[in-house]
Structures are given as C-alpha cells and as structure tokens.
Amino acid sequence: MSAPSTPPAIEIRGLWTRYGETVIHRDIDLAVPVGEMLGLVGGSGSGKTTLLREIVGLLAPSQGTVRVFGHAVLDPDASVRRMVRRRFSMLFQQGALFSALSVYDNVAFPLRELRVFDEAMIRDLVLLKLAMVELEPRHGRLMPAELSGGMIKRVALARALAMEPELLVLDEPTAGLDPDRSENFVKLIRTLQKELGFTVVMVTHDLDTLVGLATRIAVLADQRIVACGTPAEVVAVDHPFIRNFFCSERAANALQKGKA
C-alpha cells in the first residue's frame, strides 16, 4: 500500500516535551506507515495523551517535529495547517459532541463548514455515516445528553468519519464502555478500517482493545519509546513495564483470544 515515495502517515523526529523542570518525553522517534493501526500504551502519567495531542497539533512539543502525511502539523503557513488538519480526525475520550446540537447536526457540522454541499447532499451523507456506525436515522433527532456512553462514542465516530479522514486518532476509544459494548466498538472500527483503509493511532489502557485493533504496538515508558513492533515482538522485550502490562494472567487470556 505504501510505496517508498509516499510519506508515512505520522513521522515524529527528536521530540522532547518539558513542563518546567519535568521532562515528559525524551528524544522520541516514531513513524507510522499508511494503513497501519498503532496502539500506544504506557503507564499512567507517562505522557501518552500528551503525545497524542502533539500529533494532532493541539500542543506544541518543546523540541522536535511532528509531520503528518509529510507536512508539519504546526506549519507556520495557515493554508498548509488547514490542509493537513482536513486529512485526519480525532475521537476524543468523552466524545466531545457539541451539546447544543442534535446528533444529526453534530455529524453534519464539519460537512456544512466546507460550504460545498447543499442540504440534500449533507442529509444523505449524514444518514450514510450514521448507518456506518450502526445508528438509525431516528437517532439523529436525539441530543447528546440523551445518549448512552456507547452511543456517544458511535456518534463521535460518525462525526470523525464525516470528513473522510485518512488518519483516525483515538484517545481511549473504549474507556467507560462495558466489555460487551467495547468489543462491539472494536469490531466496528476494525470493519470500517478494512472498508475505508484509514490509518489508526490510538491510546488505550484496555488490553482487549489493543489486541483487537492494533497491528503494531509502541510502549511509552521512562520518557521514551522502549519498544515498538508487532504484539509478539513487543511482548518479547524485557522491560519492567512490559512484563507488568502483558504478562499477567488477564493479558495472557487477551493475547490468546487475539490470536484465535
């Protein structure tokens, strides 16, 4: 899929993050080829979400560059920034739906912002996106406050997909969902990824989600990336955090299930 000439979806070079004296990231390098699903794991406070926010350009790293599809996300040229931002979408942990807008208007919002499509076209596109995340047209009238946790995630996913992103950034996609719902949501993302072929980067604590989705795993510990590779390669690395995270009984079950 990725010819040598096409730039990777994400390319991080020599990234440092400091808050005053505290160093969060120390010289991080990471590349995510197009079409890959990368899971980012690490202990609490290891700076996973910070790294994610730096990838989408919500935070500026203290040092180093983040390039998405070959362009810097914080390029000084506003038109380049806009162009890059139109190629990826982010799914926030709490959904971040606009609480004053109905489900329909939430999904239609980014499409209307383009000022290209007429209302009839937007309606078709919104219904198509809702159908993709297995919601019915009648759900469009609901307000975000009336939705269950699982539905909020689905609507947020539909809104993220509305812009036809080539890169989807997920922050804890299954946090706050019960195991059954979270498994369904993982299946949904996997199906959509197969169909639409977007690249995925996600932060997660949940092993089932990680094993269910990620084709590659990057482990963030001790302020740097201590391991990056396929699940099997990462498990083989000898590091206290990895031993703790992957080698418990629960982890063994999840990994077994993932292989099956």
Binding site: A100, V116, D124, A131, E164
Partner: protein
C-alpha cells in the same frame, strides 16, 4: 493524490463517461472556488445520466462515501443500465444505495401560531412562578430543620458566599455610588441655583439616594455580578451531574447550595446598600462643594434633619428583600438548566433579566406601601 477527473466520449450515440482519479472529499473539493466547481460537476453528471450514458468507473483510484453519494444522487437513486466498476468500489456504492429515500413534504404547520406562542409564554411564566414558590417553601422547611439541628448549618458555604457576593463587591458598588452621587448633585444644583434654593440639595440627595437609588443600584449590580455567577455555578453542577452526586450522598441541594446563597445575599445586600448610599452621598457632597461652595460641615449637619431615619430603615428593608429575591431567582433558573451549553447560556440570561425586573417591580410596590413614611414633616 490525483483530483477527480471525468472524461466524456461523445463519438458514439450513447455517451461514455470515464471516471478516474480520487473521487473523495479531498479530491472533489480541492480546487479553489470549490462550490461552483462542485455544482458544475454535479450538473454535468446529471446531464450524462439523462442521456443514458455508459459508466466506466474502473480507473477510479479511491472512492469514498462523498463520491459514492454524489454518483448515486446524480444517477437518480438507481443503478445505471451500463456500469463497469471494480468489486471494492461497487461495495462502497452499495452502501449509498441502501440510503432511505428523502422524505418529501414539510411538517404540518400549527394553526393559530400567535395564540399558541402567547399561551406557551403564559404557561412558562406560570411554571416559573410555581417553581419559585416551591423553592421558597423548601427554604422555609430547611430553615425550620436548621433551627432544630443547628449542627447542620452550612457555615462554610455561607461565609464563602458572603465573601464572594459581599466583600468582593465593595469596590464596584462604591465607585458606581460615588459617580451617581456626583452626577445627580451636579444636575440638580444647576436647577436649584436658578431658584436660589441651594440648601435643598441636602434633602434631595439624601432622600433619593438613601431611600431609592442606593438599594436599586446595588440590587442591579449584584444581580448582574452574583446572580449570574450563581446561576452559572449551579447550572454547570447540573451539567456535570454534581447535583445528582450530592443527592446520592443524601445531602439536600437546597440546604447546601440554595440556602447559603439566599442567606448570604440577605445579609450582604443591606450592608452593601449602606456602603453604596454613603459613597453616593459623599460624591454628592463633593460635587455640591465644588459647584455651589456648600460647606462640608453644613452638609453633614443638615443631613440628619433633612432625612428622617425611617428612610434608612426602608433602604435596609429593600436591600434585605432584594437580596433574597435575587438569590432565589438565580438558584431557581440554575436548577432548571438542562445539560447542554445552549440551555446554560439561555438560563443565565433569563436569570439576570428576571431578577432585575423583579427587583424593579418590588421597588414600585415598596414605593406605594411606604408613601406616607419617612418624609420630613
């Protein structure tokens, strides 16, 4: 990435449409002046459909749902007779094909829109009134409970509210009071000079500020300052379910949230009224001294004789009632906020507007009831 391209072969009787490139959101909307461009392409595709064209989609690199919906719509929501497309892209098109037909016709209009609007407005006002009365009733019950269980008195919340809405409002109320006093003194002194009635400035300023302007000014300022803050605070606590959390801990929201606010404003407002009235009289005194050479000593000496002490009690009483009303209205609307941002802003606005209106209404009632009290005889 390539743009979406369309080649039309017109040599034969039935046109051949050959699509290539990226038929995606980015590919279709990349060029500048996209809107006209997009519409023009849509029109051309519709035209081709009408001519019964042969569609060749095999050269398309990428097709996303925007491209698929565009094609499906221009095909008139039906598969064209002659279509060549790869298996993967046919699946994308099939998703678009499963879309429900658009519903035609608008929702039926309601009859008598004016009557309905007025009726809804009246009902809403009525429900707000009953809500306020219920809140007052709850206040009384809570107060009785606290008299029986003095250990439950929320002292910390009370003192925090007293500080926020009382102490922190001192500078702004003093400034506004002083300036209003200056303005009033300057304007009236011009008139009084014409009649040679300079000394009556003391009566005029004293009565109007102590009895009327002081309480109303403070009430309007506090409604804008603390009333809005109270509505927003309780409203956000509704949005973030903190109020529900309180309820599950068995803590009464009226006792812990509403009562301290009402009590704090009931105490703080009369004190602010005295403070603001003093600043106003000081401003008036300074202006009168500058404009009419009225001695400070004379002003201070005349004030108690010109303004009977009953006026001060009326001003304090107004402050007490206004404080209770502002806090009650603010808390009532705060508790009515629904969990979304729009409702929060709407209710905060309504809260401030309602409390200022209520204050002025009640002030009129005060003026009528106390019309025989406190006038220098």
């Amino acid at each position: 990435m390539a743009d979406a391209a369309l080649e039309i072969d017109d040599r034969e009787a039935a046109a051949r449409a050959r699509l290539s490139g990226d038929w995606t959101l980015v590919g279709l909307t990349r060029t500048d002046g996209v809107c006209a461009d997009f519409r023009a392409r849509e029109a051309r595709l519709r035209d081709l459909t009408q001519r019964g064209a042969h569609w060749d989609l095999r050269a398309i690199d990428r097709l996303d749902s925007v491209g698929a919906v565009l094609l499906w719509r221009t095909w008139g929501r039906a598969w064209p007779a002659a279509l060549e497309v790869s298996e993967a892209h046919r699946r994308v098109l099939e998703h678009a094909a499963q879309l429900p037909e658009p519903v035609t016709g608008r929702a039926p209009r309601e009859p008598f829109p004016v009557t309905l609007t007025l009726g809804r407005l009246g009902l809403r006002a009525l429900s707000n009134l009953t809500g306020l009365i219920a809140l007052i009733g709850q206040m009384v019950l809570d107060f009785a409970w606290l008299c029986a269980h003095p250990r439950d008195i929320p002292w910390r919340e009370f003192s925090a509210n007293l500080y926020k809405s009382g102490a922190q409002a001192l500078p702004v109320t003093a400034l506004v009071g002083f300036l209003i006093g200056v303005v009033l003194s300057y304007l009236t002194s011009l008139q009084l000079k014409a009649f040679g009635a300079d000394v009556f400035i003391v009566n005029l300023l004293g009565i109007s500020i102590v009895r009327e302007l002081g309480p109303v000014l403070v009430a309007v300022l506090v409604a804008g300052r603390s009333g809005s803050a109270m509505t927003a605070q309780i409203g956000v606590m509704r949005v973030t379910e903190e109020i529900d959390a309180l309820a599950t801990m068995g803590i009464s929201r009226t006792l812990r949230l509403v009562l301290p606010k009402v009590a704090a404003l009931a105490i703080a407002l009369p004190l602010l009224v005295i403070w603001c009235s003093s600043a106003g009289i000081l401003g008036g005194m300074v202006a009168a001294n500058l404009q009419m050479d009225l001695a400070y000593g004379f002003f201070i000496d005349t004030l108690p004789r010109a303004v009977p002490v009953a006026n001060l009690w009326i001003g304090l009483g107004k402050g007490f009632v206004f404080g209770i009303l502002i806090a009650l209205v603010a808390c009532h609307f705060g508790l009515k906020v629904r969990p979304n941002t729009e409702s929060l802003s709407a209710k905060t606005t309504t809260s401030v507007v309602t409390s200022i209106t209520v204050v002025i209404l009640v002030d009129a009632v005060f003026a009528i009831l106390t019309r025989n009290v406190g006038m220098p005889g």
